[in-house]
Amino acid sequence: MNPVNYLYLAALLFTVGAAGVLIRRNAIVLFMCIELMLNACNLAFVTFSRMHGNLDGQVIAFFTMVVAAAEVVIGLAIIVTIFRSRHSASVDDSGLLKL
């Protein structure tokens, strides 16, 4: 087996995650899907790191994780705040983008 298969898997996971973002309305699930996409990217980075024989890919994946953590913290905080005021975690209810 060639490690390129990891890349295909990463692509598949990424696509599934993206589709989830588009389909799900629950903001929390939506965030999970985003996490899924980030993880798919990380997998690709790690695989590339192996293919190229250096550790930069892993470092980037590490940074991705940190950023993901920060993002989740803030994102969840926002969800909680919105839920408090609107009693809903559905993204469709936050239709404030509409004029």
Partner: protein
């Protein structure tokens, strides 16, 4: 001596400027200033005339170029004057009759509060008319040509508060503009053909140009002449122009301006001689108009309009003569001058009658005036005899020569033209007798004065409405010009014919040939006398023997048509005015809906499209995410494609 020519034009121009810009301060003396400057112009004219007479026949042309007006490339227009025998004749007529009519107006307009302005306009007219006849090229002539049109517009519409006067003024200017269009196209054709439009080179080089080109120029000049001289088919304005004060009708619409077309054709003789077809058109127009005007003149009850029809008809004679070529030029001008005397006299007489009758113009409300205003009666009577061609009076000499020349054209054409001219003479005798009888003879048919017009507008009625008029003789300032003109109408023709003086005077400029008439001159004269008697007799039978009805009878079909200017006006109204109104209205609609509509439609469709697009912006974050995701996909596709390529 040459510099005097410029002064000739400048004097009345100065008068116009002073009077029009001078303000109210000049109200009291303005009319005398105007008259004085007209007289100055006349004196200069006489001095120049004397100077010309002092030179030999072939050396009587003075020229002076004042300054270069519009020099652009090959286009050289100068302000330059040319004084030859033809111009001189006109200068004397214009300034002479002009000065007399200024004098007459002093009395006639005495009660008008805007008299100063009236004299300003009259002076402006004199300046423009002198410019017209003195110009040494067609473009400068065109300036004068439009200038007299402007003066005519201002003077016809002088009583602007009357909507009819304002409309008549506008109509006159517009119809004239159609003619002016002809003149400007003619000038352009000259420039294209000869590279210049100065009289000398154009007329000298006319032989070299093709006949087609000359015909085109000739026809355009004819169009111009038709407009200015009220010839068919552009005659319709002249009748309405009688809305202007009577001195204006006498000076502009009888003696001088309307004859400018004749001047133009005679001046451009070289062009017409090279274009027989154009000449045929000219004589046709002349012949048709002389009959047209005469017929219209028979039917009108308005004394001024009857005289206007007569003017049209007489100018038709002149145009006819001018179209005959060198045979007729001299007689055209001669008739022009004699006509200037007697027609101006007739108009002044008519003005005097109107003045006496509280501005009544309907001849059916006159009658028996000869005892109340003897001077007017005598001068008007002399003018009448002159115009019908009573032997020995001036009209006899000039008209007779034209009829002779028409016969001399030869062939069928000659017979037709001669016949038309003879018939015209008969009708002239008829309608002028009619005017004479209805005005000065028979019993009084006076009517109470019409309700007063706006205060201070017209020469104010001396007394209130509802009273019968008290006819009285006009003041001295009015009678003197009438007497002078009457003298001119009696003797001018004879004076010109003695020793063939007029022919000799003009021949160096216009050239002259003796016509070879198929009928002898004596026969023509006899025939003219015969038709004259018939015309007078007919009129007497109708208006002298029987009382004239106060209200016009319904009349025959021809009479009714003639009262309406032979339906020419109606035709114009239906075809041009109505058609034009419809055209402009539909164009306004088109501009609003189509031209603007296309743009507004584009705007609306963009708006509509964005309305649709707006729905894509539904505010759902997930929808936006789809677009983002789709966009990312497209970007990847594009990247891959680029790499594949």
């Amino acid at each position: 001596m040459e510099n005097l020519i410029g002064l000739l034009v400048l004097a009345p121009l100065l008068g116009a400027a002073v009077l029009l810009c001078g303000g109210r301060r000049l109200d009291r003396a303005g009319h005398w200033v105007g008259t004085l400057l007209a007289a100055v112009s006349f004196v200069i004219g006489v001095v120049l005339f004397a100077y010309l007479l002092g030179r030999s026949g072939d050396d009587r042309e003075l020229g002076v170029t004042v300054f270069s007006w519009v020099p652009v490339g090959g286009f050289r227009a100068d302000v330059g004057f040319q004084l030859d025998q033809l111009s001189m004749t006109f200068v004397l007529l214009i300034t002479g009759v002009g000065s007399l009519i200024h004098l007459y107006s002093v009395g006639y307009m005495a009660h008008d509060e805007r008299r100063r302005r009236f004299f300003g306009y009259l002076n402006l007219f004199l300046a423009a008319m002198l410019l017209l006849v003195l110009a040494d090229n067609y473009l400068l002539l065109y300036v004068g040509w439009e200038g007299v049109g402007l003066a005519s517009f201002l003077l016809i519409g002088f009583w602007q508060h009357k909507p009819s006067a304002a409309t008549a003024a506008k109509k006159a200017f517009l119809v004239n503009r159609v003619g002016d269009m002809g003149l400007s196209i003619a000038i352009m054709l000259m420039f294209t053909t000869f590279g210049t439009f100065a009289f000398g080179p154009v007329l000298g080089g006319a032989d070299g140009a093709g006949e087609g080109r000359l015909t085109a120029i000739g026809l355009m000049l004819l169009l111009a002449a038709c407009g200015k001289s009220a010839q068919v088919p552009l005659q319709s304005w002249l009748g309405d122009a009688m809305e202007g004060p009577t001195p204006v009708s006498a000076l502009i619409h009888a003696a001088t301006m309307v004859t400018a077309g004749v001047y133009l054709i005679v001046r451009s003789g070289a062009i017409f001689e090279g274009a027989p077809d154009a000449q045929t058109a000219v004589v046709t127009v002349g012949a048709v108009t002389l009959l047209f005007g005469a017929i219209v003149g028979c039917a009108k009850d308005d004394i001024k309009k009857a005289l206007a029809g007569s003017t049209m008809s007489q100018i038709g004679y002149m145009i006819l003569a001018a179209g005959l070529g060198p045979v007729g030029y001299v007689f055209a001008i001669m008739h022009l001058v004699t006509h200037g005397f007697f027609k101006a006299g007739l108009f002044l007489g008519a003005g005097s009658v109107m003045h006496a009758m509280d501005d009544e113009v309907d001849m059916r409300h006159y009658g028996g005036l000869r005892t109340y205003m003897p001077i007017t009666f005598v001068t008007f009577g002399l003018g009448y005899l002159a115009i019908i061609g009573f032997p020995g009076l001036s009209g006899f000499f000039s008209k007779d020569k034209i009829i002779e020349a028409a016969f001399a054209k030869g062939g069928t054409e000659g017979w037709i033209l001669g016949g038309a001219a003879l018939l015209g003479a008969a009708i002239t005798a008829y309608y002028m007798t009619r005017v004479m009888l209805m005005t000065f003879f028979g019993e009084k048919r006076w009517q109470p004065a019409p309700s007063p017009a706006e205060p201070g507008a017209e020469p104010a009625a001396a007394h209130g409405a509802g009273e019968l008029p008290h006819p009285h003789e006009a003041p001295r300032t009015m009678t003197v010009p009438m007497i002078v003109l009457a003298v001119g109408s009696v003797f001018a023709g004879g004076l010109f014919t003695v020793n063939n003086a007029f022919v000799k005077w003009l021949e160096p400029v216009t050239g002259h040939e003796e016509g070879h008439s198929p009928v002898s001159a004596l026969t023509v004269t006899a025939a003219t006398m015969a038709v004259l008697v018939v015309g007078v007799a007919l009129a007497w039978a109708q208006y002298g023997r029987r009382p004239v009805p106060v209200t016009a009878p319904r009349g025959s079909l021809l009479t009714r048509a003639a009262r309406r200017d032979l339906l020419q006006d109606d035709f114009n109204h239906v075809v041009l005015v109505r058609g034009g109104e419809h055209l402009t209205r539909s164009l306004v609609y088109v501009d609003h809906t189509v031209v603007d509509g296309v743009v507004n439609g584009t705007a609306a469709s963009v708006g509509g499209l964005s309305g649709r697009m707006r729905k894509l912006q539904n505010g759902y974050a997930r929808s936006y995410a789809v677009s983002m995701f789709g966009g990312a996909a497209v970007l990847i596709a594009a990247t891959l494609l680029m790499r594949a390529v």
